[in-house]
């Protein structure tokens, strides 16, 4: 296995892929959004229960590659308790990581996805769950699709 691939498939990612966190439908969800990547058929639904403007509970559901599923799983662990603005801030930081490979020291878990930047075709996999949660928070009923939003 080359350096690039072990960078891409970090232990954190393999672990989240094999043992996804917060997986399944959330019966108490107040917001639901669905994301899909028409190019590869990856799908991700995100279920959110808001408490005021903050995420009280979150889960995800879907099918796709290890990168997309691990990223959605990790995302759910990062956004709990956050407001929409804070989630957007995290997404921006994550997007910077997966497109440049540069990871600030303070966001160590998301940094596991830095290796994605050498595989441009996989950036959309990594951002799928994030698009879905942003859609859920904006109350947007339209499914998130990686083809109509920027990465």
């Amino acid at each position: 296995m080359s350096g690039d691939l072990t960078e891409l498939y970090q232990q954190v990612i393999l672990d989240h892929n094999k043992r996804p966190r917060n997986r399944g439908r959330l019966p108490t969800a107040t917001r639901v959004a669905h994301g899909d990547n028409p190019t590869c058929g990856d799908q991700c639904s995100v279920y959110v229960r808001l408490d005021g403007d903050r995420i009280a509970e979150i889960s995800f559901d879907g099918a796709g590659c290890a990168i997309s599923q691990a990223s959605a799983s990790l995302m759910t662990t990062q956004v709990k308790g956050k407001s929409a603005a804070e989630v957007k801030g995290l997404y921006d930081a994550f997007h910077h990581i997966v497109t440049t490979g540069e990871a600030p020291a303070e966001i160590s878990d998301l940094a596991a996805f830095a290796g994605v930047h050498t595989f441009p075709a996989r950036i959309k996999c990594a951002t799928l769950g994030w698009h879905a949660v942003l859609n859920a928070l904006s109350g947007d009923a339209v499914p998130a699709t990686t083809e109509t939003r920027a990465d």
């Binding site: 498939y9 094999k18 590869c40 058929g41 996989r122």
Partner: protein, 409 residues
């Protein structure tokens, strides 16, 4: 067929390292590599004869016209067509089917049925959805049978569906996802018996074995040059002459008009009728060179070679833990499509690429069928005349590493 090592020397792109390993190109159902003879034919045209075709009276234009019309004759001969005028050059299979779907669709009305199958590529499904929407005709689909679609088309359902209300029967000759090869001659004959026009998607079969439009008997046949050693951007709609001459043109403009007036115009007969604008002259010449190359290699031999590799791949893949193989267990086209329970196709393809092996992962433009089979995506290996048993073995070894990496074996 010349020996595979000899053939491989004709394909410059095969001789390269990918991620430090020799390239094993197993994505031929998506597009094939090009032999030197095809590349040279295209370069030669641009270096010597480049000019616009038809209407030109200078030397280069006459040469270009001769080469372009010569390519049409060459392709017609390759297909066993009665007349070169039955060969319309298009951008590829997709444009060919859209052209015929719009033309035939214009004559459909509510109560009419367009029949297709569940194993169609999006390019032989969506144009018919559009034709149905515009005309009020109904689109019906022949189901595939078996949990892994191993049973092919449901023949009992076909019997029930093929009624005189069916005006068009569009189906694939070889499935790009399942590897199923449909009995095209028999299906065309049965459709003809109820008065339906047949449209054959032959993208996966032309250039992959003996192919004769008169033996198969489809009214229209569509295929792409790039899946048979030719360039991208050129393809063919073959049609029976009287049907092509009646079919309303999809595009209008230069080159296709018999007499143009300020407010109305009359069209030329086929093939010009369906080739508005400057055609892809170099592409047609490249496609003709591909026909020469494949005929010299021997189409029966190519089919036998592909079948042997595919058999080997199928049997070796079947030994892998947790694998699900799609399509027929017996004879099939030169591809195998498979899924693992715990490893997604895109991860498979990314890791195999690390070993220099080019596979394809995804829904293969077959989303409704994948959904029916309970799959989001599969990995596909597809073979052609220059592939080797060693490449198949390398693929299987690589897949074993992939399964181990993800803890699935």
């Amino acid at each position: 067929m010349p020996s595979v090592p000899d053939l491989r020397r004709d394909f410059p792109a095969l001789h390269q390292q990918v991620n430090g390993r020799p390239l094993a190109y197993l994505d031929n159902a998506a597009t094939t590599q090009k032999p030197r003879a095809v590349i040279d034919a295209i370069v030669g045209f641009y270096e010597r004869d480049n000019s616009n075709v038809h209407r030109g009276l200078h030397a280069l234009s006459m040469r270009a016209t001769r080469a372009y019309e010569g390519a049409r004759e060459r392709v017609a001969r390759f297909l066993g067509a009665a007349d070169p005028a039955e060969v319309v050059f298009t951008r590829g299979t997709t444009e060919s089917i859209n052209l015929v779907a719009r033309g035939l669709g214009a004559a459909l009305q509510p109560g009419d049925v367009i029949l297709a199958t569940e194993m169609e590529h999006h390019s032989n499904l969506l144009p018919w959805q559009q034709a149905a929407r515009r005309s009020g005709a109904e689109l019906r689909l022949v189901p595939v049978t078996g949990a892994d679609a191993e049973g092919g088309l449901d023949r009992a359902a076909l019997d029930a569906l093929l009624t005189p209300a069916v005006k068009v029967f569009a189906f694939t000759h070889g499935s790009n996802t399942l590897g199923t090869v449909n009995p095209a001659a028999e299906l065309c004959a049965r459709a003809r018996a109820v008065g339906a026009v047949t449209v054959l998607d032959a993208a996966q079969t032309v250039g992959h074995g003996a192919f004769d439009v008169r033996e198969l008997g489809a009214d229209f046949t569509a295929f792409s040059g790039h899946k048979m050693c030719g360039p991208t951007g050129i393809g063919v709609l073959h049609g029976r002459r009287e049907l092509l001459d009646r079919l309303e043109p999809d595009e209008t403009g230069g080159g296709m008009v018999a007499q143009a007036g300020f407010t109305e115009s009359r069209w030329k007969p086929a093939p010009e009728r369906h080739e508005a604008g400057t055609p892809h002259v170099a592409g047609a010449i490249g496609l003709a060179a591909a026909c020469d190359y494949l005929e010299a290699a021997g189409l029966e031999a190519i089919a036998a070679h592909d079948a042997a590799l595919t058999r080997l791949a199928y049997d070796r893949l079947a030994e892998l833990p947790g694998i699900r193989l799609l399509g027929p267990r017996g004879p099939r086209g030169g591809l195998v499509s498979f899924a693992f329970a715990d490893v997604h196709a895109h991860d498979v393809v990314t890791l195999a690429d690390e070993d220099g092996i080019a596979l394809r992962g995804g829904h293969h433009c077959n989303q409704p069928l994948m959904r029916k089979l309970g799959l989001a995506s599969t990995t596909r290996a597809s073979f052609y005349l220059y592939n080797t048993e060693e490449e198949v073995e390398r693929m299987v070894a690589s897949l074993r590493r992939v399964l181990k990496f993800f803890g699935a074996a």
